[in-house]
Amino acid sequence: MSASSAFNDEKGGSSSVGEPEYGHDPASGGIFSSDYKRHDDLKEMLDSNKDSLKLEAMKRIVAMIARGKNASDLFPAVVKNVACKNIEVKKLVYVYLVRYAEEQQDLALLSISTFQRGLKDPNQLIRASALRVLSSIRVTIIVPIMMLAIKEAASDMSPYVRKTAAHAIPKLYSLDPEQKDQLIEVIEKLLADKTTLVAGSVVMAFEEVCPERIDLIHKNYRKLCNLLIDVEEWGQVVIINMLTRYARTQFLNPNINESLLEEGGSGEKTFYGSDDEEDEDEEEKEKKAETAAMAKRKPYVMDPDHRLLLRNTKPLLQSRNAAVVMAVAQLYFHLAPKAEVGVIAKALVRLLRSHSEVQYVVLQNVATMTIKRRGMFEPYLKSFYIRSTDPTQIKVLKLEVLTNLANETNISTILREFQTYIKSMDKDFVAATIQAIGRCATNIGEVRDTCLNGLVQLLSNRDELVVAESVVVIKKLLQMQPEKHSDIIKHMAKLTDNIQVPMARASILWLIGEYCEHVPKIAPDVLRKMAKSFTNEEDIVKLQIINLAAKLYLTNSKQTKLLTQYVLNLAKYDQNYDIRDRARFIRQLIVPTEKSGALSKYAKKLFLALKPAPVLESPFKDRDHFQLGSLSHLLNAKAGGYQELPDWPEAAPDPSVRNVETEEVITTGEGRIGLLGDWREVPEWTKCSSREKRKEKKVEKPFYSDSEGESGPTESADSESDSGSGSESASGSEVSASGSESEESEEGSESEEEEQKDKKKTKKELKKPVQESESEQSSEEEERKHARKSKISKSESESESDEEDESESESSESESEDSESEAEVKKKKKAAESKPPCKPVKKENKKEKKEISLLDLDDFDPTPSPQVTPVNSFLSSSLVTDLEGLSLSDSVLAPATMAPSSALKSYELLHRITGEGLQVEFCFSRQPFSPDANMVAVQMHFTNNASADAKSLHMEDVKLQSGMRVREFPEIELLPAGETATAVMGIDFCDSTQAANFQLCTQTRKFFVSIQPPVGELMRPVFLTENEFKKEQGQLMGMNEITEKLTLDATCRNEHTIVQRVTAAANLSRVPCGSDKECRFAGRTVTSGSLVLVTVVTREEGAAQLTVNCEKMVIGTMLVKDILLALTQ
């Protein structure tokens, strides 16, 4: 659709600028011509060199957009400024771009490269904003670029960028729903993220893209519960609503016993119990008693995870955000045991102090709740009293709540309140009050007479609307005991002279007709009067006149025969065909003729059948089948995208699917911000009882009682070997196990797996030693394939034919498998020791095999080679196929953070789309550049994805800041299609992070590219002793010392990880040190050889201090930032 609209706009744009908008934007129509002229000067301003002019122009343009005026003809002039240095101009250009890109797709593409460059920026905020704008441009053609960008951002170091990635997911999904499968993968990955920043956004993406994939939540459930309090408020709403649904599918109904007892028993229902209902009640009681008894046999025990959710959401009732409070309230309403639901009442009542819109929504929900659980709000009855200043819609809703809350103890106070309301000047409200009184009267037998008397008094009210409403309500009430109230009917008959409201007239006529036997003298007279005025009545009244006539004819034909015929004759010629029809029908039915059918014998029975009294029900009854607080509930209709609230399951699904490694759960607790409360770990009882439960289920497994009990993956592996009922759920949990794996291990395993795949595909290129390892790998692979019923071997052959989808599914599958094995290996020692003897032998073998193979791989690890594989870009399997042929002899096998020295970060120089098939990536190999020691070695990987060969790859037109030098890489004569090549170049960055810009040329094309180094790459390690370090540090005090306090991320509190992270962020070497609380690093800048000294001192609970001493203050400052980032994420 968007493509076609673009086509139209393009056409229109070329012929006359802005013309197409002219048609459907009348606002701009009148001043169109002057607008057009003004646009010319805007264009001039945009083309000028002065930022202030540009800014002024952009401000005017944005103001136009804000007013809804069309500014699309300025697109070419604006888009030129996308790379403007001035931040405000840039921001406004972004605003413009996002607004008009969809209409001007071709031109919008011009800006893409700017954002792609932004995606590689070392500053996380720039990366994030680039991704944000890129993903907001709704141009279908860039879907692949967006996909790639999202995937890359999803594994960005910065949580803020990952958050932005989560935001981008629904954008891409709405642009191209076919990307769903790939997006789900990204969601799955982000769901495993442990930062509060990401949690809300990714759940939002989950809800928009794949709300049905509840299985993705299992492994993240406890983490989400624990993080919840620190997530920003909007995220909290989304997460809580999602978890409500989740809990409904996974846990048992906590009220299963109580609800049965309550409903069956003589509890609150008695007030409603009218005489005729009693029989039914009896039956039901019996039935329910039976089921209740059955339920009693199976005592309900709440799943600890269910409890966890309830406990962790409860504090949020104190949120200042009404949406959060409502979300928690609905969660409690739908999930909590009856005894605990009460806590939400107070919070909801508090919201009634808020804006009237908030009141409106809250009252609707309270109205629904009061039907199910009246007791909850009874103490707050007075909070629903109505003020004369409330808007009518609020008054009516409060009235609804008051009516629902009415019972025989409080009815007198409520009626007294109603009494004051009836006098209100707001007539709609008065009408609603009268109806409310009617409902109270039907529901509470004791006050029926009082209400009726009160309503009858209202019949003499001066306001016709009040009288009319009363008549309608009285009619309903009278139906309950007509014989007692013939005087009221008489009184109402008199009203026909005065009352004009059709509905009321109709009601009176119906009453008289229905109970004409109670008022035999009056009824014919009323009919006489009505017959007189028949032609002037409203349709609804006419119908009732016919009705009355018919009934009277049947009961009292002597007096009314002629009248009836007169009325029927009048009706016969009425304008309204309903009335004509009715008249014809009734005539046939009641007037006996020769031809009249069998039915006329039963006419009396038909017309004067005993009619059951109407039940006055709340409009909010049964609304709770919609999730409370939702739009659908408010509208009482399913809104688009509404997810049904599932019914409780009969039997609880396997709770073990939510198990994750205990280790991980605890670190999540520690990783909390620690502001809104103290850190929580998974409480002891959670473990105990869940273990107990499992014991119940699988008694035959003695080893659960030993110490290693909790680890998820191991367990599921165990239960896999278990036959029977266990196996199904176990396989499910195995697949989702990958999601909850800590990020590092996942990345690691991923790359490992990618590598294996690559190897398979690129056999011919492999060097000898690699082949060896490969054979081992594949034998291991064989082993696994066995377990997986050789699924992989099948898809392997398919993936060779470059089926993207196929390889995708394969990768995800084997990924999960690998991560699982990874986890197993991690705990290998413990596991090996405590493995029970009943463990199948085959498993044991597998484990050992793996151990060996991993060790082998470790051997490859340390050799730093120029051939480095970019870890990040390995996320997309399409990229993997792109990179096939890269021989991967080393490094990737260990996860990035585990061995940073080998897993160097790789940066994109030329994307394969912009490079027309040629893809270039670079990394800082951290090797000395032999031709010139002052240069930083930059390793370039060329991949030719095009179908044609690329020839004579070389550099040209190098543009550098003063002082910088470059040694070009030797020209690559030929890069055949599908092949890759590597080259090394040297750049002297002059100890600055300025970019080196140059053109990358092939025989046919030139691409502008630039290389910008992170500050950490501008140095090389030097070896110092502790004393030397201290001495040097002493000389670099004052301005040359920068100290920052930080809180270490939960995952990097040990010395080992700190060293890894620091060395990954900067090319430094460790300085030996006596204390394990301190880590020291040293290096020299490449060009000037200035010393760079880094100290990280750790304290308790993750507090730490980072000190950088460096002669070059700029380098020092930047380095502090980078290391901080590395350590806090």
Binding site: Y94, E208, S319, L676
Partner: protein
């Protein structure tokens, strides 16, 4: 989530529109206009409307409608709360939230909207962060900007949204470090004709104005926290500490913010500071009426009642009034039928009285109900519930801040039925 936003003034002009996804035509607002027409009063327009393809969620604030267009299921409160947050932000930036202010600062408002939502999902809503990204206009800055061509957009990238404490901006520095807290209590009450209290409760709020350098960690404790029955907090307050120790422990945002809202437990009898003696009579014949109102002090804890004001929504039939107050001034708006009697300070020696006649539309029936009186009042230096702040401690920073607590009692929704 939120697809588009339209700002509409009371006469029905759309003066600003913003789309976070693809553009939705203005014609969608027609459904709203229809509902608005039907509702007569702006506050009676249903906040949620269903149209064939969209849902419209609207708030009415500062004589403006904020209309958001929704396409799929969403929690309505989520949207409503967010729209109010937009209005709050505009108010925070420009001092008020009105059509003129928005029109004058349309670019800044637009930039704010851009930052607050991403693809319809809230992104940055904390005013501390927003102010880092988009500086609020001040007279000085606008003068400087016109001279230098500078801008309102922060040239530094904001770090706040990356931080663990998203509500506080980094690098705060003041020469005078000060922290002021206003404990404001409002009495909500309904008093019936005879002077008995039908319903009364106290709602309190603690507004803070904190200008402290660095990262102060504050603890505010009360003498009698058990008074507080129901509370809601700014996200900065550590809930666990409150649960355990009944103290407010928090790292404050910079500037003005609402620290907490509370409700005083209902067991406590609410002191009603004034009594009202009133008689309003409409006569069956002669189309006129009489009004006589006297206000006197009831339970004021020895403080003076100030800012006393009585507002009466008269029945439609009342054309004009002829009233003489013994104190203050009295006005009657015959269009809206609102009578306002601005009394000022309540003098216990000489009770203010308002009396006179009401003239009615001739021939109109006698109004059913007497109008109820809405009372406004203010008592300085008193928290009517008796709540007292005991101390404020600061950790994490070395300087000594100025501290202050102020108490005010006001009438909230204080209504006397007659």
């Amino acid at each position: 989530m939120i697809h588009s936003l339209f700002l509409i003034n009371q006469s029905g002009d759309i003066f600003l529109e913003k789309h976070w996804k693809s553009v939705i035509g203005r014609s969608v607002c027609d459904y709203f206009f229809e509902a608005k027409e039907k509702a007569v009063e702006p506050e009676n327009v249903p906040p949620v409307l269903q149209t064939p393809h969209h849902y419209l969620i609207t708030i009415f604030r500062g004589k403006l409608f904020f209309l958001s267009v929704i396409q799929t299921e969403v929690s309505p409160l989520f949207v409503i709360e967010f729209l109010h947050r937009i209005a709050d932000t505009i108010q925070d930036y420009f001092g008020e939230c009105s059509e003129t202010v928005i029109k004058d600062n349309v670019v800044t408002v637009y930039e704010l909207l851009e930052e607050m939502l991403d693809n319809g999902f809230p992104l940055a809503t904390e005013s501390n962060i927003l102010k880092e990204m988009i500086k609020p206009p001040t007279i000085l800055r606008s003068v400087v900007n016109t001279l230098t061509g500078g801008s309102n957009v922060g040239d530094m990238l904001p770090t706040g949204q990356l931080s663990n404490i998203p509500w506080r901006r980094a690098g705060v520095k003041y020469t005078n470090n000060e922290a002021y807290f206003d404990v404001i209590e409002e009495i909500d009450a309904i008093v019936d004709k005879s002077g008995t209290t039908v319903f009364a409760e106290i709602q309190g709020v603690i507004e803070a104005c904190v200008r402290l350098s660095g990262m102060p960690d504050l603890t505010l404790s009360f003498m009698n926290p058990s008074l507080l029955d129901d509370v809601s907090f700014h996200p900065c307050v550590r809930f666990k500490r409150w649960e355990a120790e009944r103290v407010l422990s928090f790292i404050p945002p910079d500037g003005n913010f609402t620290l907490m809202n509370y409700h005083v437990s209902s067991q406590n009898v609410v002191a009603i500071p004034v009594y009202v003696k009133q008689s309003i009579n409409f006569f069956e014949s002669g189309s006129c009426g009489r009004l006589d109102i006297t206000i006197g002090p009831k339970q004021t804890m020895g403080k003076t009642v100030e800012g006393l004001m009585v507002t009466v929504h008269m029945p439609k039939a009342v054309l004009s009034v002829n009233l003489t107050p013994t104190q203050g001034s009295c006005t009657y708006d015959s269009a809206t039928k609102v009578l306002v009697w601005d009394i000022g300070k309540l003098n216990p020696q000489k009770l203010p009285n308002l009396r006179g006649s009401l003239s009615m539309q001739s021939g109109a029936p006698k109004p059913e109900e007497n109008p109820s009186l809405n009372i406004d009042l203010k008592i300085q230096q008193l928290a009517i519930s008796g709540l007292k702040v005991s101390r404020l401690d600061m950790y994490g920073e070395k300087y000594k801040p100025f501290k202050g607590v102020k108490y005010v009692t006001k009438a909230g929704k204080f209504q006397v039925r007659s």
